[in-house]
Symmetry: C2
Subunit: 143 residues, 2 copies
Amino acid sequence: MRRSFDDMKALLKQRNIGLSHHRLKVLEYLAEHHCHPTVEQIYADLHKEIATLSKTTVYNSLHALAEAGLVRILTIEDNETRYDLETETHGHFKCEQCGAIFNFTIDIDAFATNGLKHFDIREKNVYFKGVCPSCLHKAKDNE
Amino acid sequence: MRRSFDDMKALLKQRNIGLSHHRLKVLEYLAEHHCHPTVEQIYADLHKEIATLSKTTVYNSLHALAEAGLVRILTIEDNETRYDLETETHGHFKCEQCGAIFNFTIDIDAFATNGLKHFDIREKNVYFKGVCPSCLHKAKDNE
DNA sequence: TACATATTTGTAATTATTACAATTACATTA
DNA sequence: TAATGTAATTGTAATAATTACAAATATGTA
């Protein structure tokens, strides 16, 4: 369910979420940066363009967008909540060395969920941790 | 890989982790409380028994135990890291209403992980969110 | 353009976590 | 058992992320 930027705007309108300037900027930022940024990163980058942007607004915007179902809140590690556009379900892999986060495709609905028969499941998350190929190479070079 | 308390002590010794009183108490607490407690909960409960226990010690102990591979650090939501004994892989379900966390069995190794061929995967996590049966019932009663 | 409403700002408060130095307990060896 | 070196614990203070809130501003609509 990858959406165009215009589709997303229409969706926001439909859900009665205002299309304020800053809100759209945050959304646009996420659309252009698929690196799962933290609030800090989003704020730092957008602040260069929009001098009056406050961090609170970044939080507000992200929460509003998450509420509208356009943005997913990623909690992989403490002290660094990350944000991502809502797309088809995929897993996240975090490299313990360089901290980068990678997507990988995964059919989460495929696996059996014994013991959750009477639960209303609204969100599914999968995240792995380990070392990415790039860091593995570096380690090998240092031997 | 459910372990007895004695097994765990042996394991700690083997890995050169000291068996201090407080460390064991924290471990024992986790063994007896499978509710995925937060640091706050562990501290509050153990403090009743051990008046001199400090919160820092709880953090230290949990980190040492996690290092030793006996405890798993659960990050489902911000601002509430939770801890669990390391057992066979299972998923976690968090109820958005009452906040309770449930385990469910899942064969994480079963699903294909396309796109992670050259990655060194060291940890796999699955967590779902939604509403638990008990809260679903309550909602129905209020209709 | 004017109005009602929603958004943004900025500051202050809250909370979880970590850093660190001083104290205390532990295990080992004489 | 006492002495010794190492590791654990404590307590306080610092850091950092997030939230609350009231005042100022921007937004969309009539």
